[in-house]
Amino acid sequence: MSTRAQIEEAILPPLVALMLAAVVGDALILIYGQSPADVYALLIEGTWGNAYGLGQVLYKATTLVFTGLAVGLGLRAGLFNIGAESQLAAGGFCAALVGMALPPGIPAILCLPLYLLAAAFGGGLVGAVPGVLKARFGAHEVIVTIMLNFIVLALLNYLTSAKVHVPDTLHTPELKSGALPRVGDLLPSFHGSAANATSLLAIAAAIALGWFLFRTRAGFELRAVGLQSRAAEYAGINVSGVVWRALAISGAVAGVGGLNYVVGYKHYYEEGFATGAGFLGIAVALVGRNHPVGIVVAALLFATLSQGGLAVNALVPKQMVDVLQAVVILAVSTSVPEVRQLLRGARGSSEK
């Protein structure tokens, strides 16, 4: 297949999905009695049209890049990680615990490695559980990660509200040191926006993951298992080892996403700080075709829709934007070959 054909195949299905979503959106807006042009104008105005809106898009996209990369990495190994939601929360929670234990006054650059480790550990631990269960006992990762979401989120809620919260709130005390700088500190026009230095980490993570997947032996093994696990096994790859490591790394990546809120924005862990970002990560990975570049672009798209939803709230209900996101996801998941392949794989294994 020529490069041009490859690029076409990568870009066209999401493009169709987007156009379809746009037309459905038009229809919904008209049914609601508003003018599509007004609504889209307001959506652009409230997101890319001013520094604050742009900052918010950047902030939301950052979390989505992490969860998108996490899900995308899993899919590359043929594993569907639905647990990014709880892995993200666990990462943020562990980072907040470390931040509470630090002595005050340590510069951010020294704290950052600790926060990274803590968040990756928290998310990675939650990710490793389904990984080990799958590698050791063949438990299906979809079921395990879904169920773990309930368990982990309930546990974190309990720990937060029963052990470490500030009275009359649902959040932990603030980090003692090492809060990351916000974009607004450098560029005054971004004042008040939540965007912070974690966005740089997200770009670094996308590059690192791209390098890992396409330039290292471990990445090759991971993709080989994802494409055809029996062939990979025949070629001498330790499939169960790849499976649990892939899910653990996937969880760790999602966990680091928790830093965006905890270390970059509010400086504490709050119950439900990024509700939905883990699940939206699935959509980001699908639309981004499990490729780091695609995931970054898709994260920006979904972040724009999410922030735009607030801006157009004056004209149409928030649910409209939710529906738009859902249409994008539906359209993409019917047009993306990986998904079809996954479905075929699931059918094949159930016939055994």
Binding site: S35, A311, L315
Partner: protein, 346 residues
């Protein structure tokens, strides 16, 4: 590939064509009135039939009666709360309202950043310094708080007067100070009219999940009804739906909370301790309209019609005139200050 390209082209043409359609009823996003009010609800708040919907009703009433323009924002995730408040403040709204105690930090910060915009927080939680003194909110921020203990006192008295046993029940949601206020008022009300009555107090849990657990609510209520309790007051969000279910199943009575919950189990809801968020929101907006808005802590109790109990055609057959008269006397006593209702557990 070609087919896909044609599809993209067709969709693009349709999309662009639809952009030119302009329905006659379409609103102008930039239309402004003399007073503009923005309201940010809590996550998934609209449609809760209680708190957030109360704020919505109050704001809509103000839009109708006072001619203000109201804009609502429903956040999608945690960071949207601040974002929503900021969008409204940056638009130059005269009043920005956050619905729920969770807005406390964001409102405080924004009130400092936008000293010319007025803010109001429903259930804003006022913090104390280390010496236990109240830290006042910024001068342009109104903390709209409720004396839930006063309304709870009255329904406590009602439960004791109509319970026909020496035991009345209380089911709380999350075991934390806000709900202790309900419990304290309720217990005081019971003891006022029936000093030797016992109040069976149970909580559904220690996490916010305890407000969303109807199964647990039913379990607690059934066990209380079996112990001889005939009336249960719940302050537990949707966990209370389980309490109503238990009342219906055993043919006993339950008391609703926040909004009139008669419809949840017609015939088994004795009354509801209502928290008039709508009145508080309307009040805050009307102060801005009349140019007499000042920051500070506003307490909405019985005297301000901020809390109360439901007595209407649905439940008046359950409440004899003598009991009604007794409750009204107690209410006047509280308003006049002859009775002080405790707001913390004894």
């Amino acid at each position: 590939m070609r087919k896909l390209l044609i599809l993209v082209g067709v969709l693009l043409v349709v999309h662009v064509a639809l952009l030119f359609v302009h329905p006659s009823g379409a609103a102008q996003p930039s239309a402004r009135a003399a007073v503009n009010v923005g309201v940010v609800f809590d996550l998934g708040g609209r449609g809760d039939k209680s708190f957030n919907d109360g704020a919505y009703l109050g704001a809509e009433r103000a839009a109708k009666n006072l001619g203000v323009r109201v804009r609502f924002i429903e956040p999608g995730e945690g960071s949207d709360r601040e974002s929503g408040l900021r969008l409204l403040a940056a638009e130059g709204m005269q009043l920005v309202i956050g619905v729920g105690f969770i807005f406390t930090d964001d409102l405080t910060q924004l009130a400092r950043e936008y000293p010319n915009t007025r803010f109001a927080g429903v259930d804003y939680s006022v913090s104390m310094d280390t010496g236990g003194r109240i830290i006042p909110p910024p001068a342009n921020l109104a903390a709209l708080k409720f004396r839930e203990e006063q309304g709870s006192f009255l329904v406590g008295a009602m439960a004791a007067l109509l319970g026909q046993s020496k035991k009345v029940g209380f089911v709380g949601g999350m075991n934390f100070p806000l709900i202790h206020k309900f419990e304290a008022g309720y217990t005081a009300g019971v003891k006022r009219v029936c000093p030797d009555c016992e109040v069976v107090v149970q909580y559904a849990g220690v996490t916010p999940e305890a407000f969303r657990n109807p199964g647990k609510g039913k379990e607690l209520a059934l066990s209380q009804y079996q112990q001889g309790v005939n009336v249960i007051f719940h302050a537990s969000g949707s966990t209370g739906l389980g309490v109503f279910e238990a009342a219906r199943q055993t043919g006993k009575l339950a008391i609703g909370v926040d909004a009139d919950q008669y419809k949840e189990a017609p015939g088994y809801v004795l009354t509801s301790m209502v928290k008039r968020v709508d009145n508080a929101v309307y009040d805050a907006i009307s102060r801005v309209v009349d140019k007499r808005f000042t920051g500070g802590i506003y307490q909405y109790g019985l005297a301000e019609d901020g809390v109360g109990y439901v007595y209407d055609r649905h439940n008046q057959s359950l409440i004899p005139p003598a009991v009604r008269a007794r409750l009204e006397t107690l209410k006047q006593d509280i308003i006049a200050g002859r009775i002080t209702v405790p707001n913390t557990r004894q």
